[in-house]
């Protein structure tokens, strides 16, 4: 690949790429869901089968980024037909090569199946994809993330071309402001305004940072983007650097994302070589470079001032604002920090125009948002929907409804410090403001769906234990508050709750929200307050009746054997780790409540459904 010294050279090279003949492609999903399920083995099987069948050079094999629908791993995308296959193992490969690649026939058993049995082979017919509007994820099942050619052929770096082809920094910022893009890391601060603030601060040296410290349990949006389309992040940052007047960018990635680090490094090397990073990019006179800074995995380092402290080699603790990073950031210089997904939106906005972007979404939340839809839904995975899509659409259309046909109970948005939204708000359009109005947050885009098997007290306890562990401990309300909330919630799940605990938690939460130093402590109260507000009866059942209606809190459960159904097969006796089950063979068994540890093993192994659990 040549070094591009002008826009013309880049354009010429792209033209050459596009004019070459495109053979059919097999894209094996290499996303976070499919990789551990064996996508490398699947890819290896394709390689050897295609060689065997003489398809080498006639069909191109690629490993793509996350294709969404992670529940159906390993996923395949066959182009140009856009056929999606699911649950693929290495053993399935010969059949796919024979039938689909050689004979052009669709194999039904690898296709998505509707609950009514209808087979959906093409991506455009699968409901999971139908409700989506991929912008950030648009190249996920299209390109090989390690190939700059692929990115260029898909229109990559066209936005850089456009910006350097005659736009002024102020015009770029104007466009960002008009697009209405708000920070995708959770805060929701208008991106264009943030850039302008930083641009207007006097100073020769400015920095931009990409925040890739994604740490929410169950969230992998940013990881998927960094791994699956690293150049989109770089392109956004180059434009951002130009607009703000920064010549150095940093990507802060947690070291638990080794593949993201590898792909980003690879992408940075590629664009340095062709002159899209470095001095005098495309002959514009503007120079810009990007370095990777690895985080050690503290959740709080996703908070921008803590992130900066961590990058400076200090303890990863937040600092009071003001001063804001836009004024005094990394090493005291004006700094813009945006999340991975925010950066990945920039090129699309430049290419299609701010009006196009602002035409998507709701009044105050423009564009699309990537969510990791997980929990008790059939189709878990990564989705990108226009702002304003309702929770109902997300859960029942894209998500394919509750797994196992159960009852929807709540959805938790925004990561560990988000709130739990109950059934009555299923029609809520998902955007920054509406989520806040019901006591939750957009956060970075976690979306955990819960059914009737989730105990909301236990859910609050779980998230509080996470937040307590991850609280940096600098300020009193968060450090001591998360600990005391965890103490109380644990007591309630053990049947040791007292009626005064609820008002005490509410009072404590008010102070934590008001007086904590950073967003972690301020929002840590959301899981507690939202569950108390919407599921108060469940708390009261734990506290007053010492019962857990969802049958989750072990201390409040009682396992018994129904003497009518028990055959005395002794399967439970053999499995019981506490030797708590007694009785003669072929006679009904009895569980000693003193010895029982309530592990539920007896119920799991009983073939006759004779073990009952109640609370």
């Amino acid at each position: 690949m040549p070094k591009f010294e002008s826009i013309k050279q880049l354009e010429k090279y792209r033209g050459k790429l596009l004019s070459s003949r495109k053979p059919p492609q097999v894209l094996v999903c290499g996303g976070p869901g499919c990789l551990p399920m064996g996508s490398e083995e699947v890819a290896a099987a394709f390689k050897s089968q295609m060689k065997k069948r003489g398809l080498k050079g006639k069909v191109v094999l690629k490993e793509s980024g996350c294709q969404g629908m992670c529940a159906k791993a390993v996923k395949l995308m066959l182009r140009p037909q856009e056929i999606t296959y699911q649950h693929i193992t290495a053993e399935d490969v010969p059949l796919i090569v024979e039938e689909t690649l050689m004979n052009g026939r669709i194999v039904d058993k690898f296709c998505y199946q509707e609950p009514d049995g209808a087979i959906k082979a093409h991506k455009s017919k699968v409901p999971f994809y139908q409700g989506q509007l991929p912008i950030v994820l648009s190249r996920m099942d299209l390109i090989d993330p390690g190939s700059l050619d692929d990115y260029l052929a898909a229109g990559g770096y066209q936005a850089v071309q456009k910006v350097f082809g005659g736009m002024k920094p102020d015009e770029v910022i104007d466009a960002m402001e008009r697009s209405g893009l708000r920070g995708r890391g959770g805060g929701g601060f208008p991106t264009g305004r943030k850039w302008r603030l930083c641009r207007e601060v006097p100073g020769e040296v400015k920095y931009i940072i990409c925040n890739g410290d994604e740490g929410d349990p169950g969230a992998f949006m940013d990881r998927a983007v960094m791994e699956g389309d690293p150049h989109a992040v770089l392109e956004g940052m180059i434009i951002g650097g130009f607009a703000i007047g920064a010549n150095q960018g940093f990507i802060y990635v947690r070291h638990e994302y080794p593949l993201a680090v590898k792909r980003l490094n690879q992408a940075i090397e590629q664009v340095r070589k062709v002159g899209l990073l470095g001095a005098n990019i495309l002959g514009s006179g503007f120079g810009f470079d990007i370095k990777i800074s690895k985080g050690a995995g503290a959740f709080v380092c996703g908070e921008e001032t803590a992130l900066i402290a961590s990058m400076e080699g200090q303890i990863g603790e937040p600092h009071p604002r003001p001063p804001y990073p836009a004024v005094e950031g990394l090493w005291g210089k004006p700094t813009v920090i945006n999340n991975v997904e925010t950066w990945a939106n920039v090129a699309a906005i430049m290419n299609n125009g701010p009006e196009w972007y602002a035409g998507i979404g709701t009044e105050n939340s423009k564009g699309t948002k990537v969510f990791s839809l997980v929990g008790a839904v059939n189709n878990t995975g990564l989705v990108e929907v226009p702002m304003g899509t309702t929770l109902k659409q997300m859960v029942f259309e894209l998500g394919g409804g509750i797994r196992g046909g159960g009852e929807f109970k709540a959805v938790q948005t925004g990561g560990p410090s988000g709130g739990c939204i109950p059934k009555q708000f299923l029609d809520l359009p998902v955007d920054y403001d509406s989520l806040q109005s019901v006591g939750s947050i957009m956060g970075s885009g976690g979306m955990i769906v819960m059914d009737e098997h989730s105990c909301m007290v236990d859910v609050a306890r779980y998230f509080m234990s996470f937040l307590h562990d991850e609280s940096c401990g600098k300020c009193t309300p968060c450090r001591e508050g998360t600990g005391q909330l965890l103490e109380i919630l644990t007591a309630i799940t053990k049947g040791e709750g007292r009626p005064e605990h609820l008002p005490l938690m509410e009072e404590l939460c008010a102070t934590m929200r008001d007086a904590s130093l950073c967003g972690l402590g301020q929002s840590a109260v959301n899981p507690v307050l939202s569950t108390i507000k919407y599921f108060r009866k469940e708390y009261e059942a734990h506290i007053n009746q010492k019962k857990c209606p969802a049958l989750v809190c072990r201390a409040l459960l009682k396992y018994t054997v129904d003497p009518e159904t028990c055959t005395g097969c002794l399967a439970c006796v053999r499995e019981c780790p506490a030797n708590a089950i007694h009785g003669e063979a072929a006679e009904p068994q009895d569980i000693d409540q003193e010895l029982c540890v309530k592990c539920g093993m007896c119920q799991a192994v009983c073939k006759f459904d004779a073990v009952k659990v109640e609370s």
Binding site: G473, T476, P477, G483, Q484, E507, D514, S516
Partner: protein
């Protein structure tokens, strides 16, 4: 710009404050008392304790900020003792009472606010550290050696020397002990040896009167930062 004066309102009073100063200092200059815990005039404020919170803005868009770091701004409206502020301070003190049941200063500050008991689960009855960070900041900013720092996050957070071993950087000056508002840092002096943070420091006697001056390590530190020979510090202040 630093010499400019800024007009703001504190507790209904029109106040002029030096630009660049904090709300806490502006209030203090007006004789308005805001309780503090981790604040010290000699240290860079860090906003650890959240006792000094004040309410800023005008209803309904008010919020709490810590006054020790928040800069004054033209037209800023500040309430230092609103219901919301007081409720927050009381809650912070209640949490600290539970964290450090043996810290007398906390008991006093709490009593001043009408808080005599905590409703939360108490820590060890002898616990006194409130993690205000004054010792760490003094060691870093005043002494200039950073022998101690905060270690771990919330569940096991404590002030410690690196790897909880004897700190080579420590000069045994005892500034951390002196500054600690709850007297929690163990310190002893016996037979010409000072012990702090688990390390023993030989004390240097005055060449004239024989009274101990300071640990040898501290005098060496002085020699290093002043460029004077270490022997020049072997005479105590009284005999100089």
């Amino acid at each position: 710009m630093k010499n400019d004066s800024v007009n703001l309102t504190i507790d209904g009073r029109k106040v002029a404050a030096a630009a660049g100063t904090t709300v806490l200092l502006a209030a203090k200059a007006e004789g308005i008392d805001i309780p503090t815990l981790c604040y010290h005039p000699e240290l860079k404020p860090e906003g650890h304790c959240r006792l000094c919170v004040v309410e800023i803005g005008e209803a309904p868009h008010t919020r709490l900020v810590n006054s020790c770091t928040f800069p004054v701004a033209p037209g800023l409206v500040v309430q230092t003792a609103s219901e919301r502020v007081l409720a927050s301070r009381r809650m912070v003190l209640e949490l600290l009472l539970a964290q450090a049941p043996a810290a007398e200063l906390i008991q006093k500050l709490a009593a001043d606010m009408g808080v005599y008991e905590t409703r939360f689960k108490k820590g060890h009855p002898q616990a006194r550290c409130i993690l205000c960070g004054q010792c760490v900041r003094t060691c870093r900013e005043v002494v200039g050696v950073s022998a101690i720092s905060m270690a771990f996050r919330t569940p096991g957070k404590k002030v410690a020397t690196p790897f909880a071993e004897e700190s080579e950087a420590c000069i045994g000056c005892g500034s951390c002990v002196f500054i600690c508002p709850t007297n929690v840092i163990a310190y002893s002096e016996k037979d010409g040896v000072r012990t702090v943070w688990g390390r023993h420091f030989e004390l240097q006697p005055c060449q004239k009167c024989g009274n101990y001056i300071a640990p040898k390590a501290q005098l060496e530190h002085w020699a290093k930062i002043t460029g004077e020979p270490v022997e020049s510090f072997y005479t105590c202040r009284d005999c100089r």
